[in-house]
């Protein structure tokens, strides 16, 4: 099963994982990733993060990324939860969970989903710093991380 959620509310990774695990005795491995708001970026302190997205396209882009992961690895479930709105340091931003029979598929697909989400899903971050608000710039290192998977395709 694949599930994609874009929401303001926080999530409980333990509960989500337990729910997936309970659905299928073929699951032998579960990999997960949680992204969290840091209080420092580019050397400046960050008091809050505002996350916006493109409703409609976000869900479509994430569904395409999940479909691409499924074409590469034999996974059982995928779950992507991404929060939007105002988030404070230490708050959770994103959760990706992948279940599979064996660990290799789960690890690889989870990392792939995050690398592609960061470069292809229409989300944008704005930081609140002591100098004012600023839009976060895309990083070349994120593009490089996503490009690695194309070489392996």
């Amino acid at each position: 099963m694949d599930e994609i959620r874009v929401q303001h509310d926080d999530f409980d990774a333990g509960r989500e994982i337990a729910r997936l695990r309970g659905t299928n005795p073929r699951i032998g491995a579960i990999a997960s990733f949680i992204g969290v708001v840091r209080d420092v970026n580019e050397g400046d302190s960050v008091a809050a993060l505002a996350l916006e997205h493109y409703p409609g396209m976000t869900e479509k882009a994430l569904a395409k990324i999940v479909a691409e992961a499924r074409s590469r690895w034999n996974v059982i479930d995928t779950l992507v939860i991404h929060r939007v709105g105002t988030l404070m340091p230490t708050e959770q931003i994103v959760l990706v969970v992948v279940t599979s029979a064996h660990r290799r598929e789960a690890f690889a697909a989870c990392e792939f989903l995050m690398d592609y989400l960061k470069t292809r899903a229409p989300f944008w971050k704005k930081e609140c710093t002591p100098e004012g608000e600023r839009w976060v710039e895309a990083r070349a290192s994120d593009d490089a991380a996503a490009a690695r998977w194309r070489e392996q395709a």
Partner: protein
């Protein structure tokens, strides 16, 4: 494309444009409708038309600025043609996750 078909369609199309994140803020606009000549309507032509407005438009949509453009919620290259009723979105490179 047959000449008969061309003759039956109107000579202009209207697309809805959405702006997100830094672009929405610096252009001071979230959504607008724009009329384009049907024969020359493409993603690249639309970007050129908007860039010609001057000021922040010229700066944000300059050819050396990284701007992503989606047509009907799919990323699109400059050569992609536009049709009446299309939803076109302009936004900076994404920074989620």
């Amino acid at each position: 494309m047959g000449a008969t078909h061309e003759a039956l369609t109107s000579s202009t199309i209207i697309v809805t444009i959405l702006y997100f994140a830094r672009l929405r803020q610096s252009l001071g606009l979230a959504i607008e409708r724009v009329e384009l000549p049907a024969g020359a309507a493409s993603v690249g032509a639309l970007r050129d038309k908007l860039r010609a407005r001057g000021g922040a438009w010229t700066e944000e949509l300059a050819s050396d600025r990284a701007v992503c453009i989606a047509v009907n919620q799919e990323l699109a290259e400059p050569g992609v043609p536009l049709r009446d009723g299309d939803e076109v979105a302009f936004f900076p490179p994404v920074t989620g996750g």
